[in-house]
C-alpha cells in the first residue's frame, strides 16, 4: 500500500473555535424549540444538526485534508440523506 498519508498539525486554537461553534449551535438548537415555527420546526432542527455534523466531519475528522473524491463521496452521502428526508416529508407535510 502506498504510504502517502501525511500528518496534519492543527492548532489548538482552531479546535477550540470549532468547539465553541458546536456549543453555540447546541444552544441555538435548544433555544429554537421555544419559537413556534410550525411545520419548519423539523427543518430547523435538522439544518442545525447538519451544520454541526459538517463541522465535526470537516475539522475533527480531517475531511478538510482529504482528497477531493473523498469529499465528493461524503457529499454524495449527505445528498442522499437529504433527499430521503425531503421525500419522507412529502408524506408528513401533505397528509
Amino acid at each position: 500500500m502506498e504510504n502517502n498519508e501525511k500528518h496534519h498539525i492543527v492548532s489548538y486554537r482552531s479546535y477550540f473555535v470549532i468547539l465553541l461553534l458546536l456549543l453555540l449551535f447546541t444552544f441555538i438548537s435548544i433555544a429554537i424549540t421555544q419559537i413556534e415555527l410550525g411545520s419548519y420546526n423539523v427543518a430547523g432542527a435538522l439544518l442545525l444538526a447538519t451544520i454541526k455534523s459538517g463541522l465535526v466531519l470537516y475539522f475533527f475528522m480531517h475531511l478538510k485534508f482529504d482528497k477531493p473524491y473523498l469529499k465528493l463521496m461524503v457529499g454524495f452521502v449527505m445528498a442522499v440523506f437529504i433527499a430521503v428526508i425531503v421525500i419522507t416529508f412529502f408524506d408528513y407535510y401533505y397528509r
Binding site: V84, I87, T88, F90, D91, Y94, R95
Partner: protein
C-alpha cells in the same frame, strides 16, 4: 502493494495446513475463501430450516380451515420463515458467499482489505442467527408479526419479539461490516492497470450493493432499537396512544428494506452478467451501460420505499411521488435484460447448467419485474395490496432472482471453489425439476391474488381451493429439485472429476488461478495491460 508472506502458492486453500487443525482451521481462518464457504454452509443450514417452514405453510394451505396447524402457529411460521429467508439468506446471500470468495480473486488481490474484520462479520452473522433461532425456542412463543415487525403490533404482541428484533439488528451489523470491507477492497486493492472500466461486472455490482449496505442498514438498526425501546419503556415514538406515529415506523423500516431488495438483486444480476458472456463466448454487450444501470438501480432504489405503503394512509403527494420513482427503476433493470439478450445474440452459446440458470433467471425476473409495475401503479396496487399477488411477485423477484442467480453462480464457480466438476446430467435434471416446481408453486398465487385471496391467512374460501392445491404440489416438486441439486453438489465436491483451471473458457481473472485457488490466490499480482479486459473474447 500487498505484503509478501511465506504461505506456499502451490497448496490450495482447502489443503493448506495453517496453525490450526480441523474445525478451528475454518472458524479461525481469515482467508476470504474459507470465510465465503463458512457463510455458504451456515446459510445452507438456515435455508433448509426456511424451506421446511415454507413447506409447512404450503401444506397448511392445501385445504381450507385447519390442516396441520392453528392460526397462531401459521403466523409464527410465516414470520420466522420471512426473518430467516430475508435477513439470513437473501440479504447476505451472494455478497457474503461469492463476494467473499471471488471479489479479491476477480480484482487481482490476495485477500479483502480487512481480513480479520471479514471473519468478525461472520461471527456477528452467526450471533444474529442464534438470537433469531432463540426467539423461536425459548420465551413466550415465536414472533408472529411477519418479517416486517410492523408497529404497533410488534410492541403489543405477547410473543417473544425482543430476541428476534435484536437478532435482525445484529445481522445488520454483519452486513455493514461486509459492505465497508468490499468498498475499501475495491478502491484500494484492484490489480495495477485494472481501471474502473476494466473491472468485471460482478465486483461492480458488489460495489453498488456495498454502498447500500453501508448507508441503508443503520436506518433499520436504529428503527429496531426504537421498537425495542417502545416495547420495554413505552417511549411513544410509534405508539399512537402515546402520540407516536405507526406510519413513521413503516417509513423507517422501508427506507432500509426496499433498498435491501437491491442488496439482494444487484449481486444476482452481477453473477448473471458473468455467466452470460462466458457461455456465449462473447464480449458482454454494453459494458458501460450495465455498470451505469447497476449504479442507477442502487441510487434510485433508495427513493422508492413508499410503494410498500400506498394503503397505509400516506399523503396523496407522497403516493404519486413514490409511484413515479418506482416506475423509474424499471428503466435500468430493463437495460440489463436487453444487454444480456444482446450478449447472447450471435454468440457461440455453450449450453451448460449455469447457462440454464441464467436464462431462467431472466424469465422469472421479468415476470417478477413486470408484476412489480402492477404494484407500483397506484390504482392497481389498491386492488391487489396484501393479497397473494404480492407474495407471488415478491417470490418471483427475490427467490426467482436471487435463488436462480445463486444456483447459477454455484454451478458456474463450483469448479473454482472445490476444484472438482459436478455431474451435469443431474445438475440439469435438478434445474428442470426445480424450475417447473417454482413456476407451479408461485404462478397460481398471481391468480389467487387477483381473485382477492389475502396473504398471511391460514384459511380461505372454497373458491380458492384448486389453485392452492396446485401451488402446494408445486412446493413438493420444487423441493425435489432442490434435493437433487444439493445432493449432486455435495457428492461432486467430494468425488467429482478434477476440474481444470478454466473449464468454461472464462476471461475474468479467477480463471487464471488454479482450481481450487492457493491461499493467497496469486504468486504475483497480475497486471492489466492497455488491451486487457474482463471479457476479451476473440
Amino acid at each position: 502493494m500487498q505484503a509478501s508472506s511465506k504461505i506456499p502458492t502451490d497448496v490450495s486453500y482447502l489443503e493448506y495446513k495453517g496453525k490450526h487443525k480441523g474445525l478451528l482451521s475454518w472458524i479461525l481462518s481469515t482467508d476470504h475463501k474459507r470465510i465465503g464457504l463458512l457463510y455458504m454452509y451456515s446459510m445452507m443450514t438456515l435455508f433448509l430450516i426456511g424451506v421446511v417452514l415454507g413447506l409447512a405453510m404450503k401444506f397448511e394451505l392445501i385445504a381450507p380451515g385447519k390442516t396441520i396447524m392453528e392460526a397462531k402457529d401459521y403466523n409464527a411460521v410465516f414470520t420466522v420463515h420471512g426473518v430467516i429467508m430475508i435477513f439470513m439468506i437473501v440479504v447476505p446471500g451472494l455478497p457474503a458467499v461469492f463476494g467473499n470468495f471471488l471479489l479479491p480473486i476477480m480484482i487481482g488481490a490476495k485477500d479483502v482489505a480487512f481480513p480479520k474484520l471479514n471473519l468478525a462479520s461472520w461471527y456477528v452473522y452467526i450471533a444474529g442467527a442464534f438470537l433469531v433461532i432463540a426467539s423461536v425456542l425459548f420465551g413466550d412463543g415465536s414472533p408472529d408479526t411477519g418479517w416486517t415487525f410492523y408497529a404497533p403490533y410488534s410492541f403489543k404482541t405477547g410473543t417473544n419479539m425482543l430476541p428476534a428484533i435484536f437478532g435482525a439488528f445484529v445481522l445488520g451489523f454483519s452486513s455493514i461490516l461486509t459492505g465497508l470491507n468490499f468498498i475499501v477492497t475495491i478502491h484500494r486493492l484492484r490489480a495495477p492497470g485494472m481501471t474502473w472500466t476494466k473491472m468485471p461486472l460482478f465486483p461492480w455490482t458488489l460495489y453498488g450493493t456495498a454502498w447500500i449496505q453501508l448507508l441503508a442498514t443503520p436506518i433499520v438498526g436504529i428503527t429496531l432499537v426504537l421498537v425495542s425501546l417502545e416495547r420495554i419503556f413505552g417511549i411513544g415514538v410509534f405508539d399512537p396512544a402515546l402520540g407516536g406515529d405507526p406510519i413513521l415506523y413503516q417509513h423507517l423500516f422501508w427506507i432500509y428494506s426496499h433498498p435491501a431488495v437491491y442488496i439482494m438483486i444487484l449481486p444476482a444480476m452481477g453473477a448473471i452478467s458473468e455467466i452470460i458472456p462466458t457461455f456465449s463466448q462473447k464480449h458482454v454487450f454494453g459494458y458501460k451501460a450495465i455498470v451505469a444501470s447497476t449504479l442507477a438501480i442502487a441510487f434510485v432504489g433508495y427513493f422508492v420505499w413508499g410503494h410498500h405503503m400506498f394503503t397505509s394512509g400516506m399523503s396523496g403527494t407522497a403516493q404519486y411521488t413514490f409511484s413515479i420513482l418506482t416506475f423509474l427503476v424499471a428503466i435500468p433493470s430493463a437495460i440489463k435484460v436487453f444487454n444480456w439478450i444482446s450478449t447472447m445474440y450471435k454468440g457461440s452459446i455453450n449450453v451448460q447448467t449455469p447457462f440454464y440458470w441464467a436464462v431462467s433467471f431472466i424469465f422469472v425476473f421479468m415476470i417478477g419485474g413486470l408484476s412489480g409495475l402492477v404494484l407500483g401503479a397506484l390504482a392497481t396496487n389498491v386492488y391487489v395490496h396484501d393479497t397473494a399477488f404480492v407474495v407471488a411477485h415478491f417470490h418471483f423477484i427475490v427467490f426467482g432472482g436471487v435463488g436462480f442467480a445463486f444456483f447459477g453462480a454455484i454451478h458456474y464457480w463450483f469448479p473454482k471453489m472445490f476444484g472438482r466438476m459436478y455431474d451435469s446430467t443431474w445438475a440439469n435434471a435438478g434445474w428442470l425439476i426445480f424450475t417447473i416446481g417454482f413456476l407451479t408453486l408461485y404462478s397460481p398465487m398471481f391468480y389467487l391474488g387477483m381473485q382477492g385471496m389475502p396473504r398471511r391467512y391460514y384459511d380461505y374460501l372454497e373458491e380458492f381451493h384448486a389453485a392452492n392445491i396446485l401451488s402446494t404440489m408445486g412446493s413438493w416438486v420444487m423441493t425435489l429439485g432442490l434435493v437433487i441439486i444439493l445432493i449432486n453438489l455435495f457428492r461432486s465436491a467430494k468425488s467429482g472429476a478434477i476440474a481444470p483451471k478454466d473449464p468454461w473458457n472464462g476471461k475474468t481473472l479467477e480463471w487464471t488461478v488454479p482450481s481450487p485457488p492457493p491461499v493467497e490466490n496469486y504468486e504475483e499480482i497480475p497486471v492489466y495491460g492497455e488491451k486487457d479486459g474482463p471479457y476479451e473474447y476473440k
